[in-house]
């Protein structure tokens, strides 16, 4: 599996990742670190507590990492949570809807991790 194929599989933007990280092999190196970044775990834990500050911080952190890796689909999903819980913004979603978004993020994250593992196995 090539990196480009991996990005297509996990809903990423390979060109964007290249723009940021200069080289294909660097993207390869860092995408393998993504499953250990802990960003999704932090978001899931915040979802369980439904603490708005923790939710904002963890969504914000995950959005940044995903966007920098070119994982645009994941980044977009958590971005909605970031705006939902940004201080000063009015809530638009119910708690149930928030939990649903978090579950969607978790599902996409798991698929992404699975894709990365597949990519690793072809190296």
């Amino acid at each position: 599996m090539t990196l480009q194929e991996l990005y297509t599989l996990i809903g990423g933007d390979y060109n964007r990742a290249v723009q940021i990280m200069k080289m294909d092999r660097l993207i390869g190196r860092y995408i393998q670190k993504f499953p250990n970044s802990g960003v999704n775990e932090a978001l899931q834990a915040a979802g369980e507590s439904m603490d708005p500050v923790r939710l904002f911080e963890s969504a914000h952190a995950m959005k940044g990492v995903c966007a920098n890796m070119g994982l645009v689909k994941l980044a977009d999903m958590v971005s909605a949570l970031t705006e939902e819980f940004r201080a000063g913004n009015a809530r638009r979603m119910s708690d149930e809807e928030v939990r649903a978004v978090i579950a969607d993020v978790d599902a996409l994250y798991r698929r992404t991790v699975e894709g990365i593992r597949q990519y690793e196995s072809t190296l």
Binding site: M21, A61, G64, A67, N68, M69
Partner: protein
């Protein structure tokens, strides 16, 4: 040629982000161009910044972090004088946060998600360049020791104030330390620097209270361009007090010259005049402040003219050496014993100038050596001519200034002068003023001691006009004391002065020093001095200073008289 880029110190960049992946990505982008440091929260960042305060070129700072966020880091950096010099680029996706950070002092921002790596590199490099430029300008702008402006920047800013803020009507104040070289010599350079730092601090404190700017013009000279003060003496006192607090055991005297604001007079001229006023308080500890006035302007113009005319005066032999006799009054009748060479300037346009008009001026800037050398040559040649003509040598004393002593060639030149005129060392006596001795320079004492060892007789001129203590006399290399005329002036009417003269004569006798009383004008003064045991006398009572031809007549008359009286 080595380009400046190649002599840069390693450029350290601190990346602060709680997400390892983000730190890694920025690291990848920057690692080819910079040395990288990392921190994962604000507290850690501040520790790294403190540790690398001298090497750090920039901080890339995430705003949202656990433990301590980016805003708190910015706040701490702005509050710290050293840390605030390091530029910060904030990493943010949020426009509101970006604006807040910029208002708090961030230099720029990098949006999240990160832009193309070239954009990030360009931003980092541009901010570092700007900040380095600012640091260089700041270093060039300020004097490191006092943190006041340097001279060039000061005058640039003074010009701007003069042009764009004319309503301020700023005065020029020039201040320096009297005999600063002696302060450094006696107490060490480090102490001298401490004194300058204290003055710099107090000037900055003063300028925090009043409109103005200041610089260290050079060495111990400070220029202050400030709003009119009601009492400049009080201002000088304020600075003097701070210096005294630093050095209760060392006498350091500040002096100040002021030129008040004047319509149409720019800073350069204003400070020239304040400097002239400051220079005119040389040596006067009682009134160390002078405000520039019209008399000073006239005097300044004259001084400039005399300085310009000096070389021509030497070339055209406009200087004339006069001679004033010294008599041994212990003989009866008093006997011509020697003479003092005294200079006059026959200026082609200004007429005959007395030494007081130009000697202090030339002493102030070292040009006195030119005049002294001229007098030595004239006097030596004259002594040789009289010996040739009259068959005996009448010793003549000449002045040796402080500036002469620091000329490495002095001894060689004096020896050559003696040889060229076939004179013995005792034929020319060297007069050194008391004030030169009291400056107590080791170098000066060494040179004079060496001249004395060779065979020159050393006279201490103007003894009693300064502040030398009597117990210093025994340690000084001298043969003759020339008692200042102020002692003699009132001995007929003031018993205290007479007692003082007797005391000086006794001490001199005890130290085996000859004494010359200067400024003797009356029969009464002469009688008292003779009775008190004074050996030699000089003054108008016997003769005013005479041009060589008239002095020769005086010698001939003395010879004739001695023959007639058989003495």
């Amino acid at each position: 040629m080595i380009e400046s880029k190649q002599i840069q110190h390693p450029q350290y960049v601190l990346i602060v982000d709680d997400q390892e992946l983000n730190r890694d990505i920025l690291g990848v982008i920057l690692e080819d161009d910079y040395e990288l440091l990392y921190a994962e929260n604000g507290r850690e960042a501040l520790e790294v910044i403190r540790e690398h305060i001298d090497d750090l070129c920039i901080v890339l700072l995430d705003l949202m972090m656990p433990v301590m966020d980016g805003f708190q880091v910015l706040e701490a950096m702005v509050a710290d004088e050293e840390m605030r010099q390091i530029p910060v680029i904030v990493l943010t996706a949020d426009k509101t946060a970006e604006l807040r950070a910029l208002k708090m002092g961030a230099a720029d921002f990098i949006t999240k998600p990160f832009d193309m790596h070239e954009v990030i590199l360009a931003r980092v490099s541009r901010i570092i360049e700007l900040s380095e430029g600012r640091r260089l300008i700041s270093a060039a702008e300020h004097d490191k020791l006092t943190m006041l402006y340097n001279r060039n920047f000061f005058f640039e800013y003074a010009d701007r104030l003069y042009l764009y803020r004319p309503e301020l009507q700023l005065d020029a104040v020039v201040m320096n330390i009297q005999q600063f070289h002696s302060v450094n010599e006696l107490n060490g350079r480090e102490f001298g620097d401490d004194v300058l730092r204290v003055i710099g601090n107090e000037i900055r404190a003063f300028l925090a209270e009043t409109e103005g700017i200041a610089c260290r013009f050079e060495a111990d000279h400070f220029d202050i361009y400030c709003a009119r003060q009601d009492d400049y003496a009080a201002l000088l006192q304020r600075f003097q007090r701070k210096v005294d607090e630093l050095s209760p055991n060392v006498d350091i005297h500040l002096r100040m010259g002021v030129k008040l604001w004047q319509e149409g007079v720019g800073p350069v001229l204003l400070f020239d005049r304040a400097r002239t006023a400051c220079n005119m308080v040389r040596g006067d500890y009682q009134s160390p402040l002078l405000i520039y006035n019209e008399d000073m302007r006239m005097r300044d113009l004259l001084n400039q003219r005399l300085l310009n005319d000096l070389r021509t005066a030497v070339d055209e032999r406009q200087f004339v050496v006069y001679y004033q006799p010294k008599y041994n009054v212990q003989c009866n009748p008093p006997r011509l014993s020697s003479a003092e060479a005294l200079i006059r300037w026959k200026h082609p346009e200004l007429g005959m100038l007395p030494p007081g008009d130009f000697i202090p001026l030339f002493e102030g800037n070292g040009l006195i050596s030119i005049v002294d050398s001229y007098v030595w040559a004239e006097a030596a040649a004259q002594v040789a001519r009289w010996r040739e003509k009259l068959g005996f040598t009448l010793p003549v004393s000449v002045n040796l200034s402080r500036a002469d002593v620091f000329d490495q060639t002095l001894t060689g030149r004096l020896v050559k002068l003696m040889e060229d005129n076939s004179l013995r060392f005792g034929d020319i006596k060297l007069e050194v003023t008391e004030s030169a001795y009291t400056e107590n320079s080791r170098a000066l004492l060494d040179v004079i001691a060496r001249l004395r060892e060779i065979g020159f007789e050393i006279e201490m001129d103007d003894f009693g006009s300064g502040y030398s203590s009597l117990n210093m006399l025994s340690a000084m290399p001298i043969d003759v004391l020339k008692m200042d005329m102020k002692f003699v002036r009132n001995i007929e009417h003031n018993p205290t002065d007479l007692r003082l003269v007797s005391l000086i004569l006794d001490i001199a006798k005890y130290l085996r020093l000859h004494v010359v009383a200067e400024g003797v004008e009356t029969e009464g003064q002469l009688a008292l001095l003779r009775d008190a045991g004074c050996e030699l006398v000089q003054g108008y009572y016997f003769s005013r200073p005479l041009p060589p031809e008239e002095f020769e007549t005086l010698i001939l008359q003395e010879i004739k008289r001695e023959k007639e009286t058989g003495t």
